[in-house]
Symmetry: C2
Subunit: 418 residues, 2 copies
């Protein structure tokens, strides 16, 4: 992508109406636009990052047998009344609207009811189960406060998977598989081992605990206690002597840290399947309840967290796996031979499948281009100048390194294709 | 994908609460689920079709310089007041809701206002234009009646591109480019030349005409007059003697046909850019208005139209380019050698990059499997049976042909990889 064809511009100053660092950085770098508190639009580079994060999650959900679906936003009141979740006293963050006819509709904040109800057409016997359905879809939650940028949105992108199993045992096997898939996702997103902890948190009606996945970071809003040796953690909310005992954790081995929740998985039991009338007939011809689980990851939240967690004083620092492009190519000055050489290497790298954003703007200064490469957080910077041409080398710099390297064309291609 | 891992089932009977043929077929084949009138969810195969249509559109929008974005659903009242489109007397199909604080918000039915407003951060001089931004995003329109299945949704997926040009002339060049891109999209979606017509329709404040793209089909809800020789058409709504004269069309050469609108492009002038305060400074330092255009294609509408247009008495008939899979593989009977051979060819085709849905259900009869292959509309059916094994052949049938063919393994691979 040529910068001259990309409509976004960066800003040096933080937006005045934004207090969250993740959103400040992403707005300054041109990735997102604030529509109102907790509601953001994604411009070109932001859309690519959201898509890359989504694709990693999609691949890992498919790998554990997920079927991708896309549920509607507009929700049918009757379904939610049947489960007891329509009333604003039960769920205080609904967005609701009305059809022209006056009929009330809701905007989905989760999808147990409609999906479970929809499955009634497909589930009769034990042979029709288990089912693992997931979507990457926009959710709406009417948050009273939404001051954390992408970390807590009123409108946000989420991956939600729902599992339907024939027994507690079948459920537990998938639940553990999904926990493993989550840890794979975080590794692929650039988070090292040792900073993500599977964390015991409060459960619901059907399970003593749920599992959160917590990222240890000073910007965290949660407090958790981690046992580094056992590689598990417990949320402060549920950390009593009794619970520690039941988990076999020793208080003295625990370290208190700040953390951010970056995913959670829940055992739901048969609350929603029973309420929606979704049952199955077992091998003996007996009607049985279905054991459900739900498995959430906030996609836009992850984008905000990755932005905030890896950033430095110069701007964003994207992990390679989610960066919109691999290389930020800069032509320094407007000399014809420099432009020609930059055009040539842009074509060569693009043809080789390397994602390049090429700062070809004739009106931008060297300082502006170098600052944008940093602010936009592209992993590798490649500079073509009169000097590099004379020396027949390419100047490259890793976003996280202070040093520039001069390499030959063959070394450049080899480095970038890695 | 193995049928045993796919949670959907087909139905023989039409759903009782659905009168549109496109939705009836798609529901029977397990592609979509009706949440309420005009609101559908997409199950696994439906999600793949929606994604394939979207990807074809995306590629053609990128090819004419489009920058993909993703705007929010929730809309800020002030922006729409500034353009005069907030009031329900001006726009009668808003869905509106409220934040907890009581502040009213809308659900986007189009995105001129927020996108144009968002661009204020990026546009100052003539060097920052033109801009072509598009999205493939869920729209909400509070339709009084929604009885046409995917053809007229209250919630639907749409591609909307907005162009921002420095002059009428620059605008017209892009407008024509986008018309060509639309025709390419329809061809790639499987519509032959000669059934899609670029059609003069009523314009807005800034332009006498807009252009619709109309698919000639007996199921059409519009009446248009086509000039087959000139390969253009005119919507009945604007077809007066005066207009025909101005277009150089001869009444006697026109044929009246039924048609469905499958895309439209509009010249907007500077109504929205002026209202949002988006201007640019020209080379002479003068402040100038920006000429806008908007370019829409209903993605879910197209899915419904393709479903309805190509279907026959046996069910759906997907064009290859949008079919969820290329091959419907059937193992007939439960003999071990048949299953082994079917497993083997499934792996072989999948490894070769051929999309296969493999009906491996032990409990389904031959008749059920063959009927599902037809109803689901997969382009090619491949049958493995005791008989084909004995003769060392594969039985293949094109969805649109009555004849089966027996081919060798090497011919099979060659045919399917084409």
């Amino acid at each position: 992508m040529r910068r001259s064809k990309l409509f976004v511009k960066t800003r040096r100053e933080n937006p005045t109406d934004e207090e969250a660092r993740n959103a400040q950085l992403l707005i300054r770098a041109g990735y997102i636009h604030k529509e109102m508190a907790g509601v953001y639009s994604y411009f070109t580079l932001g859309k690519i990052v959201i898509d890359k994060i989504s694709q990693i999650i999609r691949e890992e959900m498919d790998a554990i047998g997920g079927n991708e679906v896309l549920m509607s936003t507009l929700q049918n009141k009757e379904l939610w009344q049947a489960s007891g979740r329509w009333d604003d006293k039960q769920v205080d963050n609904w967005f609701k609207s009305r059809l022209i006819s006056g009929v009330e509709v809701g905007l989905g904040f989760t999808h147990e009811e409609p999906l479970t109800s929809g499955l009634r057409n497909f589930v009769a016997s034990y042979q029709d189960l288990p089912i693992y359905a997931y979507q990457i879809q926009t959710k709406f939650r009417n948050e009273l406060r939404a001051k954390s940028g992408l970390l807590r949105g009123r409108e946000f992108l989420m991956k939600d998977l729902y599992s339907y199993s024939r027994s507690e045992q079948e459920h537990k096997i998938f639940y553990e598989k999904s926990a493993e898939a989550y840890l794979k996702i975080y590794r692929r997103l650039g988070f090292d081992d040792g900073i993500i902890f599977r964390t015991f948190a409060s459960g619901g009606v059907f399970s003593k605990f749920s599992d959160e996945f917590q990222l240890v970071t000073p910007i965290g809003e949660d407090t958790i206690y981690i046992d580094r040796e056992k590689n598990i953690a417990i949320n402060k909310e549920v950390c009593t002597d009794e619970v520690l005992d039941s988990l076999g954790l020793n208080k003295t081995a625990l370290e208190e840290v700040r953390a951010v929740e970056i995913g959670n998985i829940f055992t739901l039991g048969s609350k929603y399947s029973d309420a929606m009338g979704l049952f199955f007939t077992d091998k003996e011809g007996q009607k049985q309840s279905i054991v459900m689980g739900c498995y959430g990851i906030g996609v836009s939240r992850l984008m905000g967290l990755i932005a905030e967690h890896f950033a430095d004083d110069l701007g964003l620092v994207w992990p390679k796996s989610v960066s919109p492009y691999s290389v930020y190519l800069i032509s320094l000055g407007n000399a014809a031979d420099v432009i020609e050489a930059a055009d040539k290497i842009y074509k060569r790298l693009t043809d080789a499948g390397v994602g390049v954003i090429y700062d070809d703007r004739g009106g931008a200064s060297a300082g502006e281009k170098l600052a944008d490469a940093d602010l936009m957080g592209i992993p590798m910077r490649l500079v073509i100048s009169q000097k590099t041409l004379q020396e027949n080398v390419y100047e490259i710099k890793d976003r996280t390194s202070k040093e520039v390297k001069l390499v030959s064309e063959s070394d450049l291609i080899a480095t970038l294709e890695k």
